[in-house]
């Protein structure tokens, strides 16, 4: 089966920097790295939605992008929908201490933060390409 879309769900956590990075990495995938090939959904809607949102990971192989080691997105996808096709933990990429720093407004992002976003998006992209290659 050749896939036309791959799902990516970020935690977008509000309590730490990792959440901000997870969110921006998914947006980077959508807009720059894999435009038109990513399907996403808000994590709260995925869990609380009543319109079949939980079927998301059954329709699409889905990658979870989590901001901290609690891995809310991964756990929720696997609890309510299907096993994830891949997962990214921002804390493993940028270090747990940095990931747990205060969340940032997008207007306060530095080049260093944007480098974290790039690294997280690159890792997500790697998993994305592996899933795609397996589907051909």
């Amino acid at each position: 089966m050749i896939l036309d879309k791959i799902g990516i769900i970020s935690c977008s956590g509000e309590e730490c920097l990792g959440g901000t990075i997870s969110r921006l990495a998914v947006r980077k995938m959508m807009e720059e790295l894999k435009p038109g090939m990513v399907s996403t959904l808000c994590l709260p809607l995925f869990i609380a939605g009543d319109g079949g949102e939980r079927e998301f990971a059954e329709k699409y192989p889905t990658i979870a992008v989590d901001g901290c080691s609690k891995c809310c997105a991964k756990r929720a996808i696997e609890k309510y929908s299907n096993k994830v096709a891949g997962s990214v933990d921002v804390a493993e990429i940028i270090g747990a201490e940095i990931a747990l720093e205060k969340p940032l407004s997008t207007r306060n992002l530095t080049t260093e933060h944007m480098e974290y976003v790039k690294k997280t998006a690159d890792k997500t992209c790697e998993i994305f390409d592996e899933i795609l290659a397996k589907s051909v």
Partner: protein, 133 residues
């Protein structure tokens, strides 16, 4: 009184989620850091014990990006007391025709709108505090 919880939805698909997130960060980090705090909605919806304990019976303000009201519903289900619930598009009337950005960034008009949303919540924080003290 413990800090008032200000919880946005942080929706990822459209600019409304980012407006909710940025306005909540303005309130909790810049405008009322001593009286408010935010909690991770992902922790709330997954039932993280630590966050559930923090939210149960506590005064909350929610800012949602769409009519699904994920933040309001999830906070209520977790036992938080939502005293004020908002939806970003409800305040759009005075901003028709403006471009506010995307789920990734806000334009100058977007930041002004986020500021306005934050000020609405700041006034509510003051009212809540006045009612208690």
């Amino acid at each position: 009184m413990s800090k008032i919880k200000v919880i946005p939805c942080s929706g990822i698909g459209k600019v409304f989620g980012l407006l909710a997130r940025e306005s909540a960060l303005m309130v909790t980090q810049e405008k009322c850091p001593d009286d408010t705090e935010t909690l991770c909605l992902a922790h709330v919806v997954t039932g993280d014990n630590e966050v559930v304990e923090k939210i149960k019976g506590e005064t909350c303000i929610t800012m949602d990006g769409c009519a699904k009201y994920c933040s309001k519903k999830s906070v209520e289900e977790t036992g938080g007391i939502v005293v004020k619930s908002h939806k970003v598009p409800d305040f759009m009337k005075a901003h028709r025709g403006e471009e506010h950005g995307t789920g990734t960034y806000l334009t100058e008009d977007g930041w002004k709108y986020a500021e306005e949303l934050a000020e609405i919540m700041v006034e509510e924080v003051k009212e809540i505090k006045a009612g208690v003290n």
